[in-house]
Each structure stands twice: as structure tokens, then as C-alpha cells.
């Protein structure tokens, strides 16, 4: 039976909630801060900014990342920008408008209070980052430049060339390195969290594996902060980095943390399509290409003629046909889904028929190649480098790819999960983006959580934890460590016939087909039947070579895939349970007559937070109702 989660949202008017909460939050005295040890897992925007800020406040911080340097966390790959309600452009932006756009963009499946706080904090982030030396784009006046992004009606996006993520991450990384030099933070690179340790039902430590020596050890702390990113790699192919994984959050789930809305994933429409089974990664192309490119596929199934030989009358410009007013600029989820539909009909182009054309011929004819080159030269070059094709001569091929996961561990207003002491930041939590994330919002959320939320809210937990630090000598640690060791031994002793990658690829395809852009009860049920079989085969037939006591990439991958094989089931279960279409979650049974997403606000205006009940048992669904006091729920229309 579903229970209601307590989100601990402060009472009072929306715009006063955060300041009131800050004022009422418990403080930890400087002398006591020194006594607390905080474990931060992950060093992306959320993790690095949290570790640096907490170190600066006087806490003892340990920060862990699987990469060889905290600077390499995947936040680095974000291109577009970061939103803030500065209203520097005098174009009518405000904290409320940023809040409203984010709530609406999330298809009304996120928490008002959290999103409003995010919008409020957005301005502080820009101040902080500019002071840190993030080289944001500037006007000739020397003041900060903005651009409009992701279809927003105001220009509120701050950017640093096409590498805003890298520059913001370097800002946080540098702040982190500074704290490392001051011995406030101790960094553990090439170290992977394998499990969470609870002592008296509080999160008091983690078990990690040193990826170089293979040593499995425990770290005890007064609070654990997970900032371990999203789970997009459950699809095998995604725009995520190869190492991104669900292990930390999934292990926390298995220790009792609720996993919220795992079926909310974002699929980005403009990626370079898959070219073969060997492919390891999908590359995102800026969405801006859709401003001047026309999307089409042949009208006839299996039309293999080169694109230029297909006359206009035999082409289907399906976005322009279906959405005459938005045309090629239809929102991400709609553009993605439409591409899938035409490919499913057998009209896709390129290897495997999984691609659609993004054609610049008309724009080149109208504006000249020079103009197109000025606007998109670097993207055309990147496309040429990857595919070997010249997009000035023939249309680009694009296809949607998994890009971001809105779901994550459930957290309350303090960013603490239902396990006391376990805090979750950034993409790893579920709180701010609902069923669909707007462009330039991910960077904003990661930094808001790390620089400006957790430093305030952590005190609420720690204030009562004085003297309750657990030692790694406790049996709870020994037990979890032992389980982690056994798991490694078990993985290494399978010695079957199939590579770990082949399992990961198969799983990815399975969830992509059934829990990707369009989901049906039938497909999800089929997936729910197949995933346990695949998992079963994995544990009997995977081949993980080498030893556990040195650097062993196969073993690392195997551990992550083993968790994906369990997590995928949770994701499909959530997708099956959510009998509506919203944002990135499109259930074919719940569509309007025109095939558009149909939300069910009467029954699903809530967060589904899943509780683990043990291996082989159905997880329990808890719900947190979403209450909208400040916005009116509306149906999106892009016709």
C-alpha cells in the first residue's frame, strides 16, 4: 500500500519558503564543524561544488570519483549554457518566470518549492561563477552576454563558447583543489563507491574500491552525499560518458533509499546516428541545427536512393506536416518521438534504417553556404570527422539518443533522502526537472545544490548527530565490505562465454526498444519478462577476466552492468505503473487523437518513489502528491 512521502516543504508563501527555511535551519558551530566528516561521492558540478563549499565552511570532507581527476566528471560535456533569472536583457524575465518555465517544461511533475528555490538561487550561481573566473561570454561593454536557448521566450542563458559545462566544472574543480591544498578536502580519484553503510538506520559510511589496487575499504562519516549523476547508460548507447553508472544510487536504493520516477528519461533529438554494433557512444549535435535544417525521410519504405536523387514530392517533411506552426522546431520529446515513428515504419535512412535526414540544402540555397558555414561550421566539421560525410553536399543523418535522466533518488526539501544522513544532489536526485528537463537547467541545478542548498540544509541533519560518528571497525561496515568482496569474487568466478559488453549492449537495446521514446504496456511487460532472464544469463555466462587486486576495467564494467541489469527492471516497472504520458515518458496508450502526450493529472500528479523489498520481490511504490498552488496545470500544444 502506497504511503505518502514527507517532503518537508516549509510552510508559507512560495517566495518566502527558502529564506524562511534558511533562517530556521539549524546551525553547526565552527568548533563542531571540524568534528564532522562528510563523504561526497562524485565530483561533477554538484559534487565538486558541494565538497569545496563544505570544506570552506570547516567540515572535514572526503570526495570520491571514479575518474582519474575530479575535473573529468561528465558535467564537463554540457555545451549549451546555464539559466539564471538575472533579467540583464530587460526582456521581462524574473525568478517567477524561470520557475514557471521550468515547471511547465517538466510537464508539471516536479515540486513547486524546489523549483522556485532553484530559480531564486540561479542568480547567485552566476555571481559565484563569474567571481571564480569562469570566462562567460561578454558584450563589448564588458558585461555578461546572454542568449535564448531551448525555445525560451527570454534570453537568460549564460554561456562560455560551446563548453559551458567544462568552464563551470573547472570553476568548481578549482575551488575543490583549493580546499584540497588547505587539507579541508581529501580527494580519492579512481575510487568507486560500491555500497552504502547504514548504522542505526542512518547513512554513516560507504564501501569503495580503489580502482588501481583493487583494494576494497570503508570510509565512515557523519553524512553521505551522493552526487553521482544519472543512469542514462542503462541504454548502453547514450550521450553519457562511458563510465557513468547507476551503482551508487542503486546500491543506496537497495539499502532502503527510495528511487523516484526512474522512468523519466530525456531523449535528445539531434544526435549522430548509430553506425554499427561496435559503437560505444552517441554524440550530441547542438539543437540549434534545427533552426536552419529541414527534417525528412523518404515517403516510400525502403527507399535506398541517395538523398539528392529523391525528388521533393517523394520526401516526407514529417515535422512540418504534423506540426505546421512549430515545424522543425518542435520540442525535444516530440521531435524525438516522431523520428522513431518514421523509422519504425521502415522509412529511416542510413545504416540499420535508424536515422532521419536533417537537410540544409534549402538554407544553403537561400542564405548561401558561407552563412551556413558561419553559423554551424564547427558542427559540420564535427559531423564530418565522425561520419566522413560532408553535410554541405548531402543531408546530415540524425537520430535521437538518451541524454539525461530526470528520475533519481527521492529527496526532501533538504535534499536528504528517506535514509537520514544520505543526501543526494544534481542529476542523481529527482527533484527539479519533473518529466522533462529544459535546456540549460542541468548545470543550474547541479551548482545550486552544491554551492547554495546543501551548505544550509546539511546542518539540519548534523545538528543532532554530534558524537554519533561510526567507526569503520563496526560490524555494519565489516558486513557490507564483505558483501562487496564476495560480489567481486563472484563476478570473477563466472568465467562464462559472453563479454560483459555484449550483455550491456543487449540490455540497452531491450530498454531502448521498450522503455525508450515510446512505451506500451505490452512492450514494458515483455521487457520485464526478459530482463530477469538476461540477468540470470549474465551471472552464469559472463566472462570477467583478470583479478580483483589490480586495475581491472572488465571487472569495473561488470559490476556496473550487474546493477543496470537490476535497475532496468525498476525503470520498466515505473514506466508500466505510470498510466499516463508526460514529458519524456510517452505511453502509446495515453495519447490524444492526434498522437500527442496525454497527461492524467487526476491519478498521476505525483512522484512515484520506489522502495526495495529484497531480491526477487516487487518494490513498493510510495507517492508524494504534487500540489500546485502557484501555477495552473495546462496541456502543452505545439500544433
Amino acid at each position: 500500500m502506497a504511503t505518502i512521502c514527507d517532503s518537508k516543504i516549509p510552510a508559507g508563501p512560495l517566495e518566502k519558503k527558502w529564506s524562511k527555511h534558511q533562517a530556521e535551519s539549524k546551525l553547526v558551530s565552527p568548533a563542531n564543524k571540524r568534528k564532522f566528516e562528510i563523504l561526497v561521492v562524485g565530483s561533477g558540478l554538484a559534487g565538486a561544488s558541494a565538497a569545496a563549499t563544505l570544506g570552506e565552511l570547516g567540515y572535514h570532507v572526503k570526495c570520491f570519483c571514479y575518474q582519474d581527476s575530479p575535473r573529468r566528471a561528465h558535467s564537463i560535456a554540457a555545451q549549451g549554457g546555464i539559466n539564471a533569472a538575472k533579467n540583464y536583457q530587460n526582456d521581462g524575465d524574473s525568478v517567477f518566470r524561470l520557475f514557471y518555465d521550468t515547471i511547465k517544461g517538466g510537464d508539471f511533475r516536479s515540486r513547486e518549492a524546489n523549483v522556485y528555490r532553484l530559480a531564486e538561487i540561479s542568480n547567485l550561481i552566476i555571481d559565484q561563477c563569474a567571481a571564480q573566473g569562469v570566462p562567460f561570454a561578454r558584450e563589448y561593454s564588458g558585461l555578461l552576454a546572454n542568449r535564448s536557448f531551448g525555445g525560451a521566450q527570454v534570453s537568460r542563458t549564460f554561456y562560455a563558447r560551446g563548453q559551458t559545462g567544462q568552464q563551470l566544472l573547472l570553476g568548481a574543480y578549482q575551488a575543490l583543489e583549493r580546499q584540497i591544498s588547505l587539507n579541508a578536502v581529501k580527494m580519492f580519484p579512481r575510487t568507486e563507491m560500491l555500497d552504502l553503510v547504514l548504522v542505526d538506520n542512518h547513512a554513516k559510511g560507504i564501501v569503495v574500491r580503489d580502482l588501481v589496487t583493487g583494494e576494497i575499504s570503508s570510509h565512515a562519516g557523519d553524512a553521505v552525499i551522493l552526487a553521482t549523476g544519472g543512469y542514462g547508460n542503462v541504454f548502453y548507447l547514450s550521450t553519457n560518458a562511458r563510465g557513468c553508472n547507476v551503482t551508487a544510487t542503486y546500491r543506496a536504493f537497495k539499502r532502503g533509499a527510495l528511487f523516484a520516477n526512474p522512468c523519466f528519461t530525456q531523449i535528445h533529438p539531434t544526435c549522430i546516428p548509430v553506425s554499427g554494433s561496435y559503437q560505444s557512444k552517441l554524440t550530441l549535435m547542438s539543437e540549434s541545427l534545427r533552426n536552419d535544417g529541414r527534417v525528412w525521410v523518404p515517403k516510400r519504405k525502403g527507399d535506398n536512393r541517395p538523398p539528392r536523387e529523391i525528388p521533393d514530392s517523394e520526401r516526407d517533411y514529417y515535422l512540418e506536416r504534423k506540426y505546421p506552426s512549430f515545424g522543425n522546431l518542435a520540442p525535444r520529446d516530440i521531435a524525438s518521438r516522431s523520428a522513431k515513428e518514421v523509422c519504425d515504419e521502415g522509412r529511416g535512412v542510413g545504416p540499420g534504417g535508424l536515422g532521419v535526414y536533417l537537410d540544409f540544402a534549402e538554407s544553403i540555397g537561400r542564405l548561401g553556404e558561407k552563412t551556413i558555414r558561419e553559423r554551424y561550421g564547427n558542427l559540420f566539421e564535427m559531423y564530418h570527422n565522425i561520419t566522413g560525410e560532408d553535410a554541405y553536399q548531402r543531408p546530415m543523418r540524425i537520430y535521437p539518443a538518451v541524454h539525461y535522466t530526470m528520475g533519481g533518488l527521492w529527496v526532501d526539501y533538504n535534499l536528504m533522502s528517506n535514509i537520514p544522513g544520505l543526501h543526494v544532489l544534481g542529476e542523481a536526485n529527482f527533484s527539479d526537472h519533473g518529466a522533462n528537463r529544459l535546456g540549460a537547467s542541468a548545470l543550474m541545478q547541479g551548482l545550486a545544490d552544491g554551492y547554495f542548498v546543501i551548505p544550509y540544509t546539511l546542518g539540519n541533519y548534523l545538528a543532532n548527530q554530534s558524537g554519533k560518528k561510526a567507526s569503520v571497525e563496526r560490524p555494519e561496515f565489516k558486513a557490507v565490505e564483505e558483501q562487496a568482496r564476495q560480489r567481486v569474487t563472484k563476478l570473477l568466478s563466472i568465467r562464462g562465454k559472453r563479454t560483459v559488453t555484449s550483455f550491456h549492449r543487449e540490455l540497452g537495446l531491450l530498454v531502448w526498444e521498450n522503455c525508450g521514446m515510446a512505451r506500451s504496456a505490452e512492450g514494458l511487460q515483455a521487457a520485464l519478462g526478459e530482463i530477469p532472464q538476461l540477468r540470470e544469463e549474465f551471472w552464469h555466462n559472463a566472462n570477467v577476466l583478470g583479478e580483483g587486486n589490480d586495475l581491472n576495467q572488465s571487472l569495473e564494467h561488470a559490476g556496473r552492468v550487474a546493477d543496470f541489469l537490476e535497475f532496468a527492471e525498476l525503470m520498466c516497472l515505473d514506466a508500466l505503473d505510470r498510466n499516463e504520458s508526460c514529458g519524456g515518458h510517452f505511453r502509446v496508450e495515453h495519447a490524444t487523437e492526434d498522437g500527442e502526450a496525454l497527461r492524467n493529472d487526476d491519478d498521476y500528479c505525483h512522484v512515484s518513489a520506489w522502495e526495495y523489498n529484497g531480491s526477487g520481490k516487487q518494490p513498493t511504490r510510495h507517492i508524494e502528491p504534487l500540489i500546485f498552488d502557484n501555477v495552473k496545470l495546462a496541456q502543452r500544444s505545439y500544433k
Binding site: 580519492f188 580519484p189 579512481r190 575510487t191 580503489d210 580502482l211 588501481v212 589496487t213 583494494e215
Partner: protein, 240 residues
């Protein structure tokens, strides 16, 4: 401590004395090499201008030699300064080279140079051969140790007959050949040296780096042509 964060013990340490510490740092040492190099570069040009007077006849160059000789203690100050610059330049460079060698304990199996020039990669070799040349050159023309007979040459004004000394010295093809070869290596050394000094002194930037590199090459070529013109003209008996 995880192995991944371990790095070797400090390869270099720094003195508390800021002057020594400056010399100990990589960039500081390069400044010193650059500064001494610049002094020697200036000397190479000055020496060339002096030598080219051989084409103006015996009177001019012998007079010039007498003028230098009459400087007395000043001449020695200049000579010792040059010697000091020369020694510092060599010692610092050798130290840099040793550190550089240590920084790459194992060479690549395949060399894939992209941008560097042969002259830039062979600065130490060209420098050491030029050093040998300078020693021989001093013994040959300055101390006249290799050919004591040079000491007896006097012109009609009773001055040391440098003109005759040059003619006699360079009429030997082997000596001229070694001289030309050394000048070639010196030119190579100066070609990279010039651009390098501009870079080390922080005057360079991406806009002018091409011009700087070409200026170094042109200047080095002119110096090369200037210096070798003397033995060649003597060998060809145009100057006699």
C-alpha cells in the same frame, strides 16, 4: 593512500633565497640562458661587423685591432663578461638538458615530431660543437697558440697584422672547412636561439610568432653568410 594519487618524490627543490630559487626554477633558468644567449648573440654580430672590415683592406682591420687592443682594462672587462656569460649559458643549458632527459625516462618507440625543427632539437649538439670551435678559434687567432708565427706579423705601422693572419689562417682548406661548418651550426643555434629568446622573454604571441621565427632564420642566415664570406673570399684568392 591510494596508488592513483601517488606521484614520485619531488624531482627538484627550491632554495629560500629568492635569487637562487629563481635560478632553480625552469623558467628562471631559461631567462638566464636567454639573457646570456642574447649577450653572446650581440657579440656575434659585433664581432662580425669588426671582421668584415677585412674587405676594406689591411689598414682598416689592423687599425680596428689596434683600437681594441688599446682599450686595455676595458677590453678585459668585456672579455671576462663574455666569458662569464658563456660559462653561465653553458652550465645552465647543461643542467636544463639533464633535467629534460630525466623527465622522459623512456623514449617513444616511434618518433612523431609535428612542429619542432631539427635545429631546435639539436641545440645542445650544435652548442657543444660551437664551443669546441670557439676554443680552437681562440687558440688560433686570439692566443695564437696553434700558429705562434702569427705573433710576429706586423704591418708597416708596426701594428699587429691581423689582415695577414686571416689570409694565412684561412688559406688552409681544412681550417676553412671546419670554420664554415662551425658557422653553419652557429647559425642553426642562433636561428632557434633568436626565436627562443623572444619567447622566453615573453615578447612572443600567436600573432607574431611566425614573423619571429622567420626573423631568427633570416638573421642567422645573414650572420652565416657574413662569417663564411671571409674564408671563402680568401680561399678564392679574391682577398689576398
Amino acid at each position: 593512500m591510494p596508488v592513483a594519487t601517488l606521484t614520485p618524490a619531488p624531482a627538484r627543490k627550491f632554495s629560500r633565497n629568492p635569487l637562487i630559487a629563481f635560478y632553480q626554477s625552469s623558467i628562471g633558468k631559461k631567462w638566464i640562458v636567454g639573457a646570456t644567449g642574447a649577450i653572446l648573440f650581440a657579440y656575434v654580430i659585433g664581432h662580425l661587423i669588426g671582421n668584415l672590415q677585412v674587405f676594406l683592406g689591411p689598414d682598416r682591420i689592423n687599425g680596428y685591432a689596434q683600437f681594441l687592443h688599446d682599450l686595455g682594462p676595458t677590453l678585459w672587462v668585456i672579455r671576462l663578461s663574455l666569458l662569464l656569460a658563456f660559462i653561465i649559458h653553458i652550465v645552465a643549458t647543461i643542467q636544463l638538458a639533464q633535467q629534460n632527459k630525466a623527465a622522459r625516462p623512456q623514449a617513444y618507440a616511434v618518433q612523431g615530431y609535428q612542429r619542432s625543427t631539427l635545429t631546435s632539437r639539436t641545440m645542445v649538439v650544435s652548442g657543444l660543437i660551437v664551443l669546441c670551435f670557439v676554443i680552437y678559434h681562440l687558440l688560433h687567432f686570439t692566443f695564437e697558440a696553434t700558429n705562434p708565427v702569427f705573433r710576429t706579423l706586423e704591418d708597416s705601422h708596426g701594428r699587429h697584422d691581423v689582415y695577414r693572419m686571416l689570409i694565412l689562417g684561412f688559406r688552409k682548406p681544412l681550417i676553412s672547412f671546419f670554420y664554415v661548418l662551425s658557422m653553419f651550426l652557429l647559425a642553426c643555434h642562433l636561428s632557434h636561439g633568436f626565436a627562443s629568446v623572444v619567447q622566453t622573454f615573453g615578447i612572443n604571441n600567436s600573432k607574431i610568432s611566425g614573423i619571429v621565427a622567420r626573423s631568427g632564420e633570416s638573421l642567422a642566415s645573414l650572420i652565416f653568410i657574413g662569417y663564411i664570406s671571409i674564408p671563402i673570399f680568401i680561399l678564392l684568392r679574391i682577398v689576398h
